[in-house]
Amino acid sequence: MAQIFGPGMDLAARSVLIALGLGAAAAIAFACAMPASDYRTAQHETIAQPVPFSHQHHVAGLGLDCRYCHGAVERAANAGMPATETCMTCHSQIWTHAEMLAPVRASLAEHRPLRWKKVNRLPDYVYFDHSIHIAKGVGCASCHGAVARMPLIRKEASLSMGWCLDCHRDPAPNLRPRAALFDTEWRRGDDTPSPADLMRAYHVRTAGLTDCSTCHR
C-alpha cells in the first residue's frame, strides 16, 4: 500500500496542533483583558463638548475653586453642573462676544439647558455619593485626576468596579487633609499626617465598605 500522507505531514500536523492550543489560550487571555482596556473604559479620552471648557485655564489659570461650579459636592450625591448663570457671573463682563461662548449665552437667553457630555459616567445601578467621599477625606483628584492640567476634561480613572474596590478595601493611601481636598495638585509632604492618622481623623471604618449594598441598591 502507498503512503496517504507525505513525509512533511507529521511536522505540519504537530505544528498545527500546537498552534491551535496556543491560539485558544491567547483568545481567552484577550477576552479577560479586554474589559480593562482603555478602549472599553474610555479612559484618558476627551469628548467633544458644546463649549470647549478648559479646566486648566479656570482652575490653574484663574484659581477657581472646584465648588464654585460644582456647588453641591459637599452636600449631595451629585456634584452638580453649574447653572448657565454661574458662567455668566464672569462672562457677562469678559469675553462677552466670544464666538466660543455663544452656546452659553444662547442657553441663558432661550432658557435651554447646556447639554454637557458626561465624561466620568457610572452605570445606572451604581449609586455614588460625592458628599460622603469629600466628608471622609477623599479629594477630587483621587478620581478625577489633575483637572488643573487638563485643557479638555478627560476620564482619568477606569471607574471599573475593581478600581472602586481597591480604594474601598484600603482607603488610607487616598485620604488627604481637609485643606487639600479641592487642590488637584496636592502631593503628600513630610508634614502631612500619616494615612493611619487620617483614617482615625476622618473616622473611616472599612468594615462593610465592600458590601454590595454600599454601592448597589
Binding site: I4, F5, A13, I28, C32, P35, S158, S160, G162, W163
Partner: protein, 447 residues
C-alpha cells in the same frame, strides 16, 4: 438459544465488512433521509422556540412563582440521565472486562455525546439573562468577583463541563483504531485523507496497542466515577435546597439509579431498530439484548426502591410539609404523572423477569421506550410538584406548560436524532477492534 455474543461463522473480515458497509455502502438510504428530515424539522422548531425565547424572555414559558423551574430543568435532568446511562455501560463494564459490552459501547457513547449536548443547552436557556452565563466561570474580571462555589448549580456547571469534555475524549480515543480501519478501507481519496487525519496515523503496532490499552483502561476507570458524580450532583441541585420533596439525603443515589435506568432504556430503544435495519443481528445478538434487559430490570428495581423510600420517609418522618407533599403526590393535581412514572419505570419492566419477554425484541423496544417516557414524567414530577406546594399555602400555585415549552423539548429530541443519524453514516457504529479482539479470544475462524 445461543448465549453467544457473536453469531458463529463470523470472521474478522465479515465483521469489518458488516460494520464499515453501513458507512461505505449504506442500505435504506431513503429511510435514512426521511428520518433525517423529520429530525431536522424538529431542530427547526426548536431553533424557532429558542430564537423567540431570546427575543421575548423566558416569560414565554409556563414558569412562575412558586414554580420557577419548569420544563427546562426537567428536560435537562432527563437528557443528562440518559447520557450517564450510556457512559455507565461503556466505562463500568469495560473496567469489569465484560465482553458483551464490545458491540454496544460505541452506540452508547455516541448516544451519550448527543444526549449530553441536548442536556447542556437547557441550563443556559433557562437563565433569565443567558448572555451572562459565562459569569459561572472563575476568570479574572474587572469586577473582582468570583463565582459562588457553595451553590449546587455551580457544582452542576463544572460537572457538566467536565462530563461533556471527558465523554468526547473517551469517545474519540475509543475511535482511533477504528478510524484507522476506515482509513484503510475508504474507497475514495478524500475519505482516506479525512479518516486518515482523524486516525492520527494509527498503525496498530504492538507498542501502540500497549499504550492504547493502558490509556483506555485509565479513561474507563475515570469515566465511571465521573458519571456517578455528575448525576449525584444533579441530585444535589434538588437535595441541596430546602424545598419539601427535594430536601432528601437519598436524592444523589436515587438520581443515579434513574440515570442508569433511562440509559439502558434508550440503548434498548436504539439498538433494536439498528441491528434490524443494518442486519447486525450477528453482532448485537439476543444475548446482548438479554443482558441489557436484565440490567434494565435491575435498575428498575433500584429506582422502585428509591420511590418507596421517598414515600416512606415522608410518611414516617414528622415533617408535616413532606407529609402533605407526599400525599399530594399520590392524589393531588400531579398524581397522574406519578402513576405513569410508577407504571413505566416500575411495573412494566417487571415483565423482564420472563425470558420470553427478554427475547422478544418488540416487547423489549416497548419497555425501553416506556422507561424513557417514565423517566421524563418522573423528572417533571419532581420539579413541578414539589415547587407547587411549598411551605406557605398562600403561595401554592401550579405550572402550565406553554407551546414554547413543548417546542424546545421537541427541538432537542430532533437534535439528538439528527446527530445520531449523521454519525451512523460517518463512523463505525460498533467498536471494530474490540469485536476482533472478542473473535480472537473466542478462537473464531479467520477470514
Amino acid at each position: 438459544m445461543s448465549d453467544r455474543l457473536i453469531a458463529p461463522g463470523e470472521s474478522f473480515a465479515s465483521v469489518t465488512d458488516r460494520v464499515t458497509g453501513i458507512v461505505f455502502d449504506p442500505p435504506h438510504r431513503l429511510g435514512w433521509w426521511l428520518l433525517m428530515l423529520l429530525a431536522l424539522a424538529l431542530v427547526g422548531l426548536g431553533t424557532l422556540a429558542i430564537g423567540w425565547l431570546f427575543v421575548a424572555g423566558i416569560g414565554i414559558w409556563g414558569i412562575n412563582i412558586p414554580v420557577a423551574w419548569g420544563f427546562a430543568i426537567s428536560n435537562y435532568v432527563w437528557w443528562i440521565g440518559m447520557a450517564s446511562g450510556g457512559t455507565m455501560i461503556s466505562s463500568l463494564f469495560h473496567v469489569m472486562r465484560a465482553d458483551w459490552r464490545s458491540s454496544v459501547n460505541r452506540l452508547a457513547e455516541t448516544m451519550t455525546l448527543f444526549a449530553a449536548a441536548c442536556a447542556g443547552i437547557f441550563p443556559i436557556l433557562h437563565l433569565g439573562r443567558p448572555y451572562y452565563f459565562y459569569w459561572l466561570f472563575p476568570y479574572p474580571n474587572v469586577m473582582g468577583l468570583w463565582p459562588q462555589f457553595r451553590s449546587p448549580l455551580l457544582w452542576d456547571f463544572f460537572a457538566i463541563l467536565t462530563y461533556v469534555l471527558c465523554s468526547m475524549l473517551f469517545w474519540y480515543v475509543g475511535l482511533i483504531p477504528d478510524l484507522a480501519t476506515m482509513r484503510d478501507r475508504a474507497p475514495s481519496r478524500a475519505g482516506q485523507i479525512v479518516y486518515g487525519l482523524l486516525a492520527l496515523g494509527w498503525r496498530g503496532s504492538a507498542l501502540q496497542w500497549l499504550r492504547y490499552q493502558s490509556a483506555y483502561r485509565v479513561l474507563a476507570g475515570l469515566m465511571g466515577p465521573l458519571v456517578i458524580s455528575v448525576h449525584s450532583i444533579v441530585g444535589l441541585d434538588f437535595a441541596g435546597g430546602l424545598t419539601p420533596g427535594w430536601h432528601s439525603t437519598q436524592y444523589p443515589p436515587f438520581f443515579v439509579f434513574g440515570a442508569v435506568l433511562s440509559g439502558f432504556g434508550i440503548v434498548l430503544m436504539l439498538a433494536i431498530p439498528l441491528r434490524r435495519a443494518y442486519r447486525l443481528e450477528a453482532l448485537i445478538t439476543p444475548r446482548h439484548l438479554d443482558i441489557l434487559a436484565r440490567l434494565t430490570l435491575l435498575s428498575s428495581l433500584a429506582v422502585g426502591y428509591a420511590y418507596a423510600m421517598d414515600l416512606f420517609t415522608a410518611f414516617y418522618g414528622d415533617s408535616r410539609y413532606d407529609h402533605d407533599l407526599a400525599l399530594d403526590r399520590l392524589i393531588g393535581h400531579y398524581a397522574p404523572l406519578f402513576w405513569i412514572t410508577i407504571l413505566c419505570n416500575l411495573l412494566l419492566p417487571q415483565a423482564l423477569w420472563w425470558r420470553r419477554v427478554r427475547q422478544d425484541t418488540r416487547l423489549l423496544l416497548v419497555i425501553g421506550a416506556s422507561v424513557v417516557l417514565g423517566m421524563w414524567c418522573e423528572r417533571i414530577l419532581i420539579v413541578l410538584q414539589s415547587l407547587a406546594h411549598e411551605y406557605e399555602p398562600s403561595r401554592w400555585g401550579l405550572f402550565h406548560p406553554t407551546f414554547w415549552d413543548w417546542a424546545t423539548l421537541l427541538g432537542t429530541i430532533g437534535l439528538f436524532l439528527a446527530g445520531l443519524l449523521l454519525l451512523l453514516r460517518l463512523l463505525p457504529a460498533l467498536s471494530l477492534f474490540e469485536l476482533r479482539d472478542l473473535l480472537a479470544r473466542r478462537g473464531a475462524a479467520h477470514g
